[in-house]
């Protein structure tokens, strides 16, 4: 068996050298482990960067529905059933219609996108079921508001609450 370290046969200088190298490799072992872990974290971070989707882009796609489909708030002419994209029907701009349009999971819906909508000139507000006034950014859309007799230009402010707590996906 090879005796790598035989302190009894070593002089003081040899003992110092052996101890020095032992400490060196202890530290190097720790540093190498840290480097490998940091490398793995770096790669994971790079992967997250590759799969990142801007939250405002996601919110824009979800928010398309609010002023474009009659199942949400868009005005639909009763006779011709023509839908006016980019419009808000005031008779529909309420909590009940919002729940028909976009309703998140009762228990975990706060982990998903929620919205607070405001018609600026009309000073009307309606929100999704898990909107808790913790908005991260605001989208704005120019809309035409149907009040029963005519269209009026207005601004639809969409406050976006991205998530509260850990993401559901």
């Amino acid at each position: 068996m090879i005796k790598l370290l035989d302190y009894k046969k070593m002089n003081k200088k040899g003992q110092f050298e052996a101890a020095r190298k032992t400490i060196f490799w202890l530290i190097m072992g720790f540093i190498i482990t840290m480097i490998i872990i940091a490398y793995a974290i770096l790669l994971a971070g790079y992967r997250n960067k590759l799969t990142y989707t801007p939250p405002d882009m996601k919110a824009e796609f979800i928010a398309l529905r609010f002023s474009n489909i009659p199942e949400c708030f868009a005005y639909q002419e009763p006779l011709t059933e023509r839908v006016y994209a980019g419009s808000i029907d005031l008779t529909k701009f309420n909590k009940g219609q919002m729940d028909e349009c976009y309703f998140t999971n009762k228990d975990e819906g706060h982990k998903d996108y929620n919205f607070g909508l405001t018609l600026v000139k009309k000073d009307l507000f309606v929100a999704t079921n898990n909107y808790l006034d913790q908005d991260v950014f605001v989208l704005e859309k120019k809309v035409m508001v149907w009040d029963g007799t005519k269209f009026e230009a207005d601004t639809l402010q969409i406050k976006v609450q991205v998530r509260l707590g850990a993401p559901s996906t």
Partner: protein
């Protein structure tokens, strides 16, 4: 042991450490580079956004996902899109949620389809093989 032997042993030991470090970092990098995890995540995100876009546009429409996704299996349901690779279990699948208006529903399961299409007809959104929908 004499000093020369000790030095040689230390050199061999250091070489072994270097080889081990290079091997482990290369293995990690190769794992990331060869996995389809990134593509799977992006496909799931894209299909969820496409579904939301279809919901947000009035009328019927068809849209094709512009990538070859033959290696994945897709499950579209009323509240989510699930993308699986071969051998995936529930925990390793990519799932993205969305919320449809109450009148709407979504359905569709596809395996080994090169081209995947989302079709909106009335209140139904379907996931189909594009060859059935948009022939070449």
């Amino acid at each position: 042991m004499n000093k020369k032997a000790n030095t040689i042993l230390m050199i061999i030991f250091e070489l072994l450490i270097v080889i081990a470090v290079v091997f482990s970092t290369s293995k990690v990098a190769y794992g990331y580079a060869s996995s389809d995890k990134v593509l799977k995540i992006n496909v799931a995100e894209d299909l969820a956004m496409m579904t939301n876009t279809l919901i947000g546009t009035h009328g019927d429409s068809k849209v094709e996902y512009p990538l070859d996704v033959e290696q994945f299996t897709f499950i579209l349901s009323k509240g989510s899109i699930t993308v699986l690779s071969a051998g995936d279990i529930a925990q390793t699948a990519e799932v993205r949620l969305f919320y449809l208006p109450k009148k709407y529903s979504a359905t569709g399961t596809i395996e080994n389809a090169k081209r995947v299409c989302l079709i909106k007809q009335g209140y139904l959104i379907e996931l189909k093989n594009c060859q059935e929908v948009i022939p070449n």
